[in-house]
Assembly symmetry: C2
Homo-oligomer: 347 residues x 2
DNA sequence: GTGAAAGCGCTAACAT
DNA sequence: ATGTTAGCGCTTTCAC
């Protein structure tokens, strides 16, 4: 068996209390005893057992993280940001994915709670009515949403995200400024992501503000990287084809660009494409993908810091300002979205 | 405080042992008591506290994962595979990144060990001489390497990866079959990744086998997505420019393609590019990125299953066949690597 | 400054 | 089939 605080104590000729004190508040131990204990710790290769500590202390200095998937770089970046910030604050991270299955959210959180994580960061399908969040609240476990953005009627729920509606609105306004009028939205399943819905809302607002007729959104199964054939017929016909496509995320935008190429359409000459997320690889594309850049790593970092603040304030002292953290987005102007030119007449 | 097994017991009018038994081996409790206990559990919202269980049992059903970064999709996919497989086996995952800093590997593992993880999956800079692995072995903690591939003189270390040397050799052979003779390797820091070194070895072997003169490898700082200017002069000069570039990973290949475009060089007409990793987004590029496809998710899954087998066999019964898990790689043939054509004479 | 002892939630003998 | 009890490693009063 691994050495415990007990062996260290007896070997150093002190009580376990003294060893514990040295580990936690070194000031309260005399220099010579400290020295002696340090020696034995090194000699024995002792490492404090967090399990014992956690059981006694009632906290674990561990946070749980639940995201839909790691296949989307956005969430990977976010997790990266969370872990980095956690490490700085001496917290550990327990991670799990749901694969976009809302029914798995609860199970994931249950498991984390059994491990007695001190708090949870999660991205849920729908932050509005959500059994998992209710559970967390009922159990009084601090949690912070990432990417989810709360409507104003969800008080008390903490979330870190960009302003999805406004960001989408900015993106579409950018397309409009380029002269586009037939702009269509390509989106992931609305049911799998409230963000998609909010972005669609932004699309509608931008179109209305410019007195343009919105086109019906095209909802595709998943941002699988395989061709979403649903909208191919549509695009094939130059008469009803939009001149610009606004995609609810970059993976979708990139897939769309691939599909458009397969149809013989050129981006941006025949059709402009704009994404949402600002994934780094978008900048390596040719043409560079125009997109709304979200600060994913920072979303993770802020989410973690907010969560830890909540944990260490005994879940109380979160200033109202901390409750809704809206981080700034930016428009990345790439060549995938270009000024509108009327299609050359067919002959 | 949250309800403990004790409250459940008293409320249900049984001893805590009975409750514990119901939780662990339900068979050994009479149907009626079981029913009654289940009721109270539901009524109280009781959830077993793993901390207590772990302390008592001496295991945590938790594995630690250490990867260099999540910015590279490859590792994100791997972590995804690990977590999915872990969930199936009722294990949890504690995750941490090192940002490619070898000195952080040990600290990361120390923290995981303090949490008493049952085993560790890690990707290290250098699997050969590695203090972290020595530590793990000394402490008799089961571990499995992912992506690292052991040379034959590292007995007893378990690793899951593709055959990096052979895969690189296949990739370069593919370029040679396309008629290329001036093939140069673009690589991440050899010191940060033994895989890069092994892939370079494969490059050398393929060149030798074809009686071609290898060119000196170009080692770039990081697969940052920003231009690596080191090799730009080289490429600018058509006289000494290679006709094909073999990159030690896809991020590097994609960055290189961007840089080549910036220099006015066309891929593949002026220069062919081949990567290594087979990241999904490579297929969305135009031209599609030729690459060596590694099964990242599967690497994670196999690593986890192997680890759990080791854990549950008390780290003993790993068949020799399990020790070195080499997973198959595949060559993805994209348009980024094309048949060699002699450069048009300048005028 | 240091020690003795209780107890966090749970499991596993051992007893009945 | 169920209860009693010891104890996993640790922190934290409460003494001294």
């Amino acid at each position: 068996m691994r050495p415990s605080i007990k062996q260290v104590a007896s070997q150093a000729g002190v009580s376990i209390a003294t060893v514990s004190r040295l580990l936690n508040k070194p000031g309260s131990v005399s220099a010579e005893t400290a020295e002696r204990i340090h020696q034995t710790i090194a000699a024995l290769g002792f490492r404090p057992n967090f399990t014992g500590r956690n059981l006694r202390a009632g906290n674990s200095r561990t946070v749980g993280v639940v995201v839909p998937t790691l296949s989307n770089t956005v969430f990977a970046q976010c997790l990266q940001g969370i872990e980095l910030a956690a490490r700085e604050l001496a917290y550990s991270v327990m991670f799990t994915a749901t694969e976009y299955l809302p029914q798995d959210e609860s199970a994931a959180v249950e498991r984390l709670l059994s491990h007695r994580v001190d708090g949870v960061i999660l991205t849920v399908a729908d932050a509005g009515a959500n059994a998992t969040l209710d559970l967390l609240e009922h159990e009084r476990i601090p949690y912070v949403l990432a990417y989810n953005q709360l409507s104003d009627n969800a008080p008390g729920r903490t979330a870190v995200s960009v302003d999805n509606r406004q960001a989408a609105r900015d993106a579409v306004a950018h397309l409009i400024a380029l002269g586009h009028t037939r702009i269509q939205m390509l989106s992931g399943q609305f049911s799998a992501s409230d963000r998609a819905l909010q972005r669609h809302q932004g699309y509608l607002e931008a179109m209305q503000a410019a007195q343009l007729a919105p086109l019906p959104a095209i909802e595709v199964q998943r941002h699988t990287l395989t061709a979403a054939t649903d909208y191919q017929q549509l695009l094939a016909d130059p008469a009803c084809r939009p001149s610009a496509l606004f995609c609810s995320n970059d993976l979708l935008a990139l897939s769309a660009m691939r599909d458009l190429r397969a149809l013989g359409l050129r981006v941006p000459q025949d059709i402009s494409v704009m994404g949402f997320d600002g994934i780094p690889l978008g900048e390596l594309m040719e043409p560079v993908l125009s997109s709304v850049v979200q600060p994913s790593g920072q979303i993770g970092e802020v989410a973690l810091r907010t969560l830890v603040a909540a944990i260490e304030n005994d879940n109380a002292g979160l200033a109202a300002a901390e409750q809704r953290r809206i981080l700034p987005h930016a428009i990345r102007t790439g060549a995938s979205a270009a000024a509108y030119v009327a299609p050359a007449p067919e002959d």
